[in-house]
Symmetry: C4
Subunit: 235 residues, 4 copies
Amino acid sequence: MTTKLSRLLASSRNHLSKNILCGKDGNLSDGLPLHTFTSRAGISTAGQNLGIKGIAAPYTVFKGKAALSVTPILPTFTKLDSGLHVVERRGVMMLKFIPAIGERKYDWEKKQLFALSPTEVGSLISLGASDSCEFFHDPSMLSSNAGQVRKSLSIKPHSTGSGYMISLTVVNNVEKSRDNLSVPFTTAEFAVVKTACSYALPHILGWDRLTDKVARGHASNFKSDRQLMDSEWDK
Amino acid sequence: MTTKLSRLLASSRNHLSKNILCGKDGNLSDGLPLHTFTSRAGISTAGQNLGIKGIAAPYTVFKGKAALSVTPILPTFTKLDSGLHVVERRGVMMLKFIPAIGERKYDWEKKQLFALSPTEVGSLISLGASDSCEFFHDPSMLSSNAGQVRKSLSIKPHSTGSGYMISLTVVNNVEKSRDNLSVPFTTAEFAVVKTACSYALPHILGWDRLTDKVARGHASNFKSDRQLMDSEWDK
Amino acid sequence: MTTKLSRLLASSRNHLSKNILCGKDGNLSDGLPLHTFTSRAGISTAGQNLGIKGIAAPYTVFKGKAALSVTPILPTFTKLDSGLHVVERRGVMMLKFIPAIGERKYDWEKKQLFALSPTEVGSLISLGASDSCEFFHDPSMLSSNAGQVRKSLSIKPHSTGSGYMISLTVVNNVEKSRDNLSVPFTTAEFAVVKTACSYALPHILGWDRLTDKVARGHASNFKSDRQLMDSEWDK
Amino acid sequence: MTTKLSRLLASSRNHLSKNILCGKDGNLSDGLPLHTFTSRAGISTAGQNLGIKGIAAPYTVFKGKAALSVTPILPTFTKLDSGLHVVERRGVMMLKFIPAIGERKYDWEKKQLFALSPTEVGSLISLGASDSCEFFHDPSMLSSNAGQVRKSLSIKPHSTGSGYMISLTVVNNVEKSRDNLSVPFTTAEFAVVKTACSYALPHILGWDRLTDKVARGHASNFKSDRQLMDSEWDK
């Protein structure tokens, strides 16, 4: 069915239509039957699904009022003159909230993003069954637009004791708007997120590159680095 | 002994015999002595063992009335016109139940499959010592044959408090048949399944490809994606 | 210091001496100062340290009466005529007990091996703080020598509630001998073993090859397998 | 901003200046806004950030009085004449404490290192919510300078029951100095360290190389090793 979706996207791309597009979602990751989703622009839908060049594999949970997809975004590295690669932009766990606009129809145009930092991921994966947490982001922090938009994400256990409500509130002081998107997660769905985030955490820190580098044997270069390090080591 | 099995299979392949074949199982994954199994056709046995092209490595537990093997099946990806790869068929954890037809003899012809979705895997790995869970599948869901076959998988803790009974019931309304296959798992065997499923979960979501892609350095392509993403990021 | 060891080994190799060799252990994996060990033959010491061709990286704990090293041994695969690779010899977690013969001197010649199956590894990693477990092996099981040698491994919590005593008993009915080697593990040392065994478990099952295969893109071959599988899937 | 940092570093490298350098930290890994740091020599800062040749990706937590960065250092291997690679220098988890010298300014010149062994990492990852641990190192142990410098690292739970205080004390008997650097970690930050250290542990043991080696198929060499091993196996 993704093939069909791909054709729809390709076609809508040509028309650059702003009409509602209904297709099947090929990235459905839960145990439910397929859902349709809605977007006002095929091209931007492709952009929105984009995790990392070439591969989109979010874990998405579709519920009555909204869907929530989770996908890791790896850090980027920049090479210093010394040859050392340092993290340029740190990795995050990207949460995407998509409002429902009908039965099994979701409006990807109105999605809201929330990027969890490594430490926020640490908070999520250490959440006990009756714990809750809340994070506040200002997308324009430290710029002249600081304070214009305020996002808060809360994860709260259901009163029944099984699963969590994950809610995003976005207050835009310029547009005078306030969006709230909430997606109930079952214990099983939250276990997927916890397990997958635990797997992803070292990767969004960039530690998989550390280990890869050496595992593929740069022994000679490595030697001289170790010598450099050894002197530090024993201080 | 697998060499012997391989010869037996190769030989029965030539004869295309439908006779009972008794060999040693080279994939035996528990701590017990070797078991024999039974199949009515060597070739189809090879097919049944097949996880992914070229590699078959199920974790199999052999018990008195049936055996249960567990193996991850990775997702497939399809390339959109945009160059983006999206999940075509999501990965699953495949459970295979094989009835015993004698002491240490199993009839692979009569196996029954049950494919756990990522969320169902999340349910399994978050199962507490006294918790149980049950999943219902209809292999023909959303087609004109919906409702003809109904499968249910249940995982229930032993009353002794150690280990679980894993049972599959398949009701076929067309053939008027009802199969029930149950395999008792010790705490240790279930720990293997939980640990191996936790390892496999990010892989059946396709997240190992996300990380691999970048780790092998597509920095230049990646840059432009990040720019695309950055504009989304700060909304 | 391993360089020195390597020279010592190379040298003793030339002499093929059966004298006691005392060197420094370059694989020391705990937080203690370096220990010396003893072997009656340099060459066989190298063989004993051997995990997998070319790489030896055991986690070794040195205590007063014996040392215990832990290292994963991956499964081997064999290719059937169909092109399918099946597990030929399943992977294990190899435990090596080495008796002390003096202060910080160990006699690698008298080492005893115990190979944990995946299910036994499952037992170990699911061990609660006050749980114990015991495994029995007969190295000649199913052969005419069955019963000649009996090995039992027990893991028992210290009465103080922190850490475990890991003991191997080997009864040889032919040589009329009975060896007992015990190594006390602290909570921290056992946590290393649990964490490292949890990491290794999917690898000794061979599941890392499943995922690797596909992650490196055999998409075309894979397609036809999936079609084969799809017919099974929906049965 | 790292680009800017890189220029600053390159420039200060040319001047070999010992002046205070204030830049932005491109490796910031927590959820806080960017911090500046201070170093008296650009070159040595680059050296200090260096984890492994070419890649620096520490997880760093910046607090009022000091910052603490955590990064895995992989083991090095040496090839014996037999062709066997053994661990030359074991891997560690490197902790780097950097004192603050003003609001969001850190003096990397005065950093203090503490290298956790695999067993100490085991201690850290098995720490219960109300547990504490303490490690003592002497960088010159077994040399003639033994006892000159004494380092102790303590991890103690906050009295509030959430998070830990991580403190390093370095007593230098030659310089008659005593440094104490403490960084409070939240539960979330400590969860990142635990999760990332659990991931890193098999890598600092070198077990990822064991598995890689075989996964990339050295089947022919491997066979002969297995035969060698088999004889040991069944003893």
